[in-house]
Symmetry: C3
Subunit: 87 residues, 3 copies
Protein backbone atom coordinates (compact mmCIF):
# COMPACT_ATOMS: atom_id res chain seq x y z
CA UNK A 1 0.00 0.00 0.00
CA UNK A 2 2.69 2.49 1.11
CA UNK A 3 4.84 2.21 -2.06
CA UNK A 4 1.76 2.35 -4.35
CA UNK A 5 0.96 5.73 -2.80
CA UNK A 6 4.61 6.86 -3.27
CA UNK A 7 4.49 5.89 -6.94
CA UNK A 8 1.17 7.71 -7.37
CA UNK A 9 2.61 10.81 -5.67
CA UNK A 10 5.83 10.87 -7.69
CA UNK A 11 4.01 10.41 -11.01
CA UNK A 12 1.52 13.07 -9.95
CA UNK A 13 4.41 15.38 -9.00
CA UNK A 14 6.01 15.04 -12.42
CA UNK A 15 2.82 15.45 -14.40
CA UNK A 16 1.67 18.32 -12.24
CA UNK A 17 5.09 20.03 -12.35
CA UNK A 18 4.93 20.03 -16.15
CA UNK A 19 1.25 21.03 -16.06
CA UNK A 20 2.13 23.94 -13.78
CA UNK A 21 4.99 24.85 -16.12
CA UNK A 22 2.52 24.99 -19.01
CA UNK A 23 -0.03 27.08 -17.09
CA UNK A 24 2.14 29.38 -14.98
CA UNK A 25 4.22 32.04 -16.72
CA UNK A 26 6.40 34.99 -15.77
CA UNK A 27 4.18 38.04 -16.17
CA UNK A 28 5.96 41.42 -16.30
CA UNK A 29 4.95 45.07 -16.73
CA UNK A 30 6.80 48.39 -17.02
CA UNK A 31 5.76 51.01 -14.47
CA UNK A 32 6.95 54.54 -15.40
CA UNK A 33 7.15 57.43 -12.94
CA UNK A 34 8.65 60.93 -12.78
CA UNK A 35 11.13 61.90 -10.07
CA UNK A 36 13.43 59.39 -8.31
CA UNK A 37 11.15 56.55 -7.17
CA UNK A 38 8.52 54.26 -8.66
CA UNK A 39 6.82 51.35 -6.88
CA UNK A 40 5.74 48.01 -8.39
CA UNK A 41 2.04 47.15 -7.88
CA UNK A 42 1.12 44.68 -5.11
CA UNK A 43 2.01 41.10 -6.03
CA UNK A 44 4.79 42.18 -8.40
CA UNK A 45 8.53 42.43 -7.66
CA UNK A 46 11.03 44.73 -9.40
CA UNK A 47 13.57 42.77 -11.42
CA UNK A 48 15.39 45.82 -12.83
CA UNK A 49 15.10 49.62 -13.08
CA UNK A 50 15.76 52.24 -15.76
CA UNK A 51 16.68 55.79 -14.74
CA UNK A 52 15.68 58.10 -17.54
CA UNK A 53 18.65 60.43 -17.31
CA UNK A 54 22.29 60.11 -18.24
CA UNK A 55 23.35 58.79 -14.82
CA UNK A 56 21.63 55.41 -14.37
CA UNK A 57 22.58 54.34 -10.93
CA UNK A 58 19.69 52.63 -9.08
CA UNK A 59 18.85 50.34 -6.20
CA UNK A 60 15.62 48.79 -4.92
CA UNK A 61 13.99 49.90 -1.66
CA UNK A 62 11.78 47.61 0.50
CA UNK A 63 11.91 45.00 -2.25
CA UNK A 64 9.19 46.99 -4.04
CA UNK A 65 10.50 50.38 -5.22
CA UNK A 66 13.01 51.35 -7.91
CA UNK A 67 15.09 54.30 -6.68
CA UNK A 68 17.31 56.33 -9.04
CA UNK A 69 20.25 58.27 -7.63
CA UNK A 70 20.59 61.83 -8.85
CA UNK A 71 23.82 61.85 -10.81
CA UNK A 72 23.15 64.73 -13.13
CA UNK A 73 20.50 67.42 -13.00
CA UNK A 74 18.68 66.29 -16.18
CA UNK A 75 16.25 64.15 -14.13
CA UNK A 76 13.34 62.90 -16.22
CA UNK A 77 11.97 59.83 -14.41
CA UNK A 78 12.20 56.14 -13.51
CA UNK A 79 10.87 52.97 -15.08
CA UNK A 80 10.47 49.86 -12.93
CA UNK A 81 10.36 46.43 -14.58
CA UNK A 82 7.91 44.51 -12.33
CA UNK A 83 7.36 40.74 -12.59
CA UNK A 84 5.24 38.03 -10.91
CA UNK A 85 3.87 34.56 -11.63
CA UNK A 86 0.51 34.37 -13.39
CA UNK A 87 -1.71 31.70 -14.94
CA UNK B 1 -16.05 11.04 1.79
CA UNK B 2 -16.03 14.76 0.86
CA UNK B 3 -13.51 15.81 3.60
CA UNK B 4 -11.25 12.83 2.86
CA UNK B 5 -10.95 14.14 -0.69
CA UNK B 6 -10.25 17.68 0.65
CA UNK B 7 -7.47 16.34 2.88
CA UNK B 8 -6.03 14.34 0.00
CA UNK B 9 -6.12 17.44 -2.25
CA UNK B 10 -4.53 19.76 0.32
CA UNK B 11 -1.74 17.32 1.15
CA UNK B 12 -1.23 16.75 -2.58
CA UNK B 13 -1.11 20.53 -3.11
CA UNK B 14 1.62 20.99 -0.52
CA UNK B 15 3.75 18.09 -1.63
CA UNK B 16 3.33 18.98 -5.28
CA UNK B 17 4.02 22.69 -4.65
CA UNK B 18 7.36 21.76 -3.06
CA UNK B 19 7.99 19.16 -5.78
CA UNK B 20 7.34 21.85 -8.41
CA UNK B 21 9.66 24.20 -6.52
CA UNK B 22 12.40 21.57 -6.70
CA UNK B 23 11.90 20.90 -10.40
CA UNK B 24 11.01 24.33 -11.82
CA UNK B 25 13.67 27.05 -11.85
CA UNK B 26 14.12 30.55 -13.22
CA UNK B 27 16.08 30.14 -16.44
CA UNK B 28 17.69 33.30 -17.87
CA UNK B 29 19.88 34.19 -20.85
CA UNK B 30 21.61 37.36 -22.11
CA UNK B 31 20.71 38.33 -25.66
CA UNK B 32 23.12 40.90 -27.16
CA UNK B 33 22.35 43.05 -30.20
CA UNK B 34 23.79 46.10 -31.97
CA UNK B 35 21.71 49.23 -32.52
CA UNK B 36 18.80 50.28 -30.25
CA UNK B 37 16.62 47.17 -29.92
CA UNK B 38 16.99 43.50 -29.05
CA UNK B 39 14.16 40.99 -28.63
CA UNK B 40 13.95 38.08 -26.18
CA UNK B 41 13.33 34.66 -27.78
CA UNK B 42 9.78 33.23 -27.70
CA UNK B 43 8.82 31.98 -24.23
CA UNK B 44 11.23 34.36 -22.48
CA UNK B 45 10.45 37.79 -20.97
CA UNK B 46 12.91 40.66 -20.52
CA UNK B 47 13.58 41.39 -16.85
CA UNK B 48 16.15 44.14 -17.45
CA UNK B 49 18.21 45.76 -20.23
CA UNK B 50 21.77 47.08 -20.59
CA UNK B 51 22.51 49.86 -23.09
CA UNK B 52 26.12 49.59 -24.05
CA UNK B 53 26.84 53.30 -24.23
CA UNK B 54 27.28 56.01 -21.63
CA UNK B 55 23.58 56.94 -21.55
CA UNK B 56 21.67 53.90 -20.27
CA UNK B 57 18.08 54.87 -20.54
CA UNK B 58 15.84 51.98 -21.66
CA UNK B 59 12.28 50.71 -21.71
CA UNK B 60 10.63 47.49 -22.90
CA UNK B 61 8.42 47.38 -26.00
CA UNK B 62 5.58 44.84 -26.48
CA UNK B 63 6.73 43.04 -23.34
CA UNK B 64 9.42 41.38 -25.47
CA UNK B 65 12.00 43.95 -26.69
CA UNK B 66 14.64 45.96 -24.85
CA UNK B 67 14.83 49.45 -26.39
CA UNK B 68 17.71 51.85 -25.63
CA UNK B 69 17.21 55.59 -26.06
CA UNK B 70 19.97 57.43 -27.88
CA UNK B 71 21.43 59.76 -25.28
CA UNK B 72 24.90 60.16 -26.69
CA UNK B 73 26.26 59.32 -30.13
CA UNK B 74 28.64 56.55 -28.92
CA UNK B 75 25.99 53.85 -29.59
CA UNK B 76 27.45 50.35 -29.32
CA UNK B 77 24.49 47.99 -28.67
CA UNK B 78 21.92 46.52 -26.30
CA UNK B 79 21.86 43.47 -24.04
CA UNK B 80 18.49 42.03 -22.96
CA UNK B 81 18.30 39.86 -19.85
CA UNK B 82 15.58 37.32 -20.76
CA UNK B 83 14.03 34.91 -18.22
CA UNK B 84 11.40 32.14 -18.14
CA UNK B 85 10.46 29.08 -16.07
CA UNK B 86 12.14 25.82 -16.97
CA UNK B 87 12.39 22.29 -15.56
CA UNK C 1 -11.28 3.45 -16.12
CA UNK C 2 -8.71 5.25 -18.31
CA UNK C 3 -10.74 8.46 -18.81
CA UNK C 4 -11.68 8.65 -15.11
CA UNK C 5 -7.97 8.78 -14.32
CA UNK C 6 -7.47 11.47 -17.01
CA UNK C 7 -10.27 13.57 -15.52
CA UNK C 8 -8.78 13.15 -12.03
CA UNK C 9 -5.34 14.15 -13.32
CA UNK C 10 -6.56 17.22 -15.22
CA UNK C 11 -8.66 18.51 -12.31
CA UNK C 12 -5.72 17.83 -9.99
CA UNK C 13 -3.43 19.70 -12.38
CA UNK C 14 -5.66 22.78 -12.39
CA UNK C 15 -6.21 22.87 -8.65
CA UNK C 16 -2.57 22.17 -7.92
CA UNK C 17 -1.37 24.75 -10.49
CA UNK C 18 -3.42 27.42 -8.70
CA UNK C 19 -2.32 26.09 -5.31
CA UNK C 20 1.31 26.32 -6.45
CA UNK C 21 0.65 29.84 -7.72
CA UNK C 22 -0.63 30.80 -4.28
CA UNK C 23 2.33 29.25 -2.45
CA UNK C 24 5.25 29.92 -4.78
CA UNK C 25 6.42 33.52 -5.28
CA UNK C 26 9.27 35.35 -6.96
CA UNK C 27 11.75 36.10 -4.21
CA UNK C 28 14.41 38.74 -4.98
CA UNK C 29 17.30 40.40 -3.14
CA UNK C 30 19.80 43.16 -3.94
CA UNK C 31 23.45 42.14 -3.58
CA UNK C 32 25.83 45.14 -3.48
CA UNK C 33 29.57 44.94 -4.13
CA UNK C 34 32.48 47.29 -4.77
CA UNK C 35 34.61 47.01 -7.92
CA UNK C 36 33.28 45.59 -11.22
CA UNK C 37 31.65 42.27 -10.32
CA UNK C 38 29.12 40.91 -7.84
CA UNK C 39 27.75 37.35 -7.75
CA UNK C 40 24.21 36.25 -6.86
CA UNK C 41 24.01 33.67 -4.02
CA UNK C 42 23.50 30.00 -4.95
CA UNK C 43 19.93 29.29 -6.07
CA UNK C 44 19.37 32.88 -7.26
CA UNK C 45 19.73 34.25 -10.80
CA UNK C 46 20.57 37.85 -11.73
CA UNK C 47 17.65 39.56 -13.49
CA UNK C 48 19.34 42.97 -13.81
CA UNK C 49 22.40 44.93 -12.67
CA UNK C 50 23.12 48.48 -11.52
CA UNK C 51 26.59 49.98 -12.02
CA UNK C 52 27.08 52.66 -9.42
CA UNK C 53 28.93 55.11 -11.64
CA UNK C 54 27.90 57.37 -14.48
CA UNK C 55 28.55 54.77 -17.21
CA UNK C 56 26.13 51.88 -16.59
CA UNK C 57 27.04 49.34 -19.14
CA UNK C 58 26.77 45.77 -17.80
CA UNK C 59 26.46 42.12 -18.77
CA UNK C 60 26.07 38.86 -16.83
CA UNK C 61 28.86 36.31 -16.61
CA UNK C 62 28.26 32.55 -16.11
CA UNK C 63 24.59 33.28 -15.57
CA UNK C 64 25.47 34.25 -11.99
CA UNK C 65 27.59 37.44 -11.90
CA UNK C 66 26.78 41.06 -12.72
CA UNK C 67 29.79 42.66 -14.45
CA UNK C 68 30.08 46.43 -14.95
CA UNK C 69 32.26 47.80 -17.74
CA UNK C 70 34.54 50.64 -16.76
CA UNK C 71 33.29 53.61 -18.75
CA UNK C 72 34.50 56.40 -16.56
CA UNK C 73 37.05 56.38 -13.75
CA UNK C 74 34.53 57.24 -10.99
CA UNK C 75 33.98 53.52 -10.15
CA UNK C 76 31.99 53.01 -6.97
CA UNK C 77 30.47 49.51 -7.17
CA UNK C 78 27.85 47.14 -8.55
CA UNK C 79 24.42 46.02 -7.37
CA UNK C 80 23.00 42.70 -8.62
CA UNK C 81 19.25 42.13 -8.53
CA UNK C 82 19.00 38.39 -7.77
CA UNK C 83 15.74 36.39 -7.98
CA UNK C 84 14.50 32.82 -7.43
CA UNK C 85 11.29 30.94 -6.64
CA UNK C 86 10.38 30.52 -2.99
CA UNK C 87 7.48 29.22 -0.93
Amino acid sequence: QKCALDDLMSSLNKSVASAVLEKVTLSCIDVPGSGFDVECPKGYKPTGCSCTNAGCYWDIRNDQTCHCFLVTMNRIGVIARCCKFAM
